[in-house]
Symmetry: C2
DNA sequence: GATACCATGCAGGAAGGATGCACCGTAAAC
DNA sequence: GTTTACGGTGCATCCTTCCTGCATGGTATC
């Protein structure tokens, strides 16, 4: 493996702030779909600009797809997990299993009810 | 899931430059062990300082262990993958399978003989 | 004193991310 | 005709994190 290898690059953008949160929000959505504005409000502190940038990135990498419905009143822009994206979610789930096994005492997780986390 | 969640934090330090390469070098070593100086020369361009920092980090996170042999001539410092570290390697392998499935055309990987990559 | 091995401290610079503001297009509602 | 909701883009600035290079430190053997 090298720096620049696909695995390396993938891990790198997954690790960027907001990326996993966005993937998870899509995963939670009905049919793994969410609108731009839904994501915006779910994620709270994220700015439009950053959200837009992350979505572009994930789209470019093929983890999500963008479906724009121009027939509706204000434009409706939906994002949906692709098959590839769903498989990444599974890998993230493996990471969670690992974390629960080896890092039980984690404070942030400890504060939350892990059963509420979809992962 | 939140920022600050174990999964998030883990992905974050795994994504840091050199971290995966170091884990892989340990994985390749006999008994999953490597000396500081071996890692240094395997990884080529890494500086002692960064290598040292990454190893500290991985040790703190429980993915590797440090065994120092002070009885020898110059000190001998060995690093070994823990059980937890080995399981992370498996997750990274899953990522590779995913990458091979969805990102076949990756240039960097294409230049190399993937069969030579231990992942 | 030179060398091998392992490591840390400081300083500079690049990259990533947050923030603020302005701006585009559409179409419905007022 | 102006405002509003929706989904964006472009530019500029700031701050923090990360990476790198260079110097320095300890120890113990030769």
């Amino acid at each position: 493996m090298q720096e620049g290898c696909t695995v390396n690059l993938t891990v790198k953008y997954i690790a960027r702030k907001w990326t996993m949160l966005i993937l998870l929000e899509l995963y939670k959505g009905e049919g793994h779909v969410r609108r731009f504005s839904e994501l915006k409000s779910c994620l709270g502190e994220i700015t439009q600009k950053v959200l837009s940038a992350r979505l572009r990135e994930l789209e470019k990498e093929g983890l999500i797809e963008n479906r724009v419905d121009k027939t509706t009143f204000p434009v409706k822009s939906e994002y949906i997990l692709t098959e590839s994206g769903l498989e990444i979610i599974n890998i993230i789930k493996d990471m969670k299993r690992w974390a629960l096994k080896w890092k039980i005492s984690n404070i942030e997780c400890g504060c939350q009810d892990c059963s509420q986390c979809v992962l």
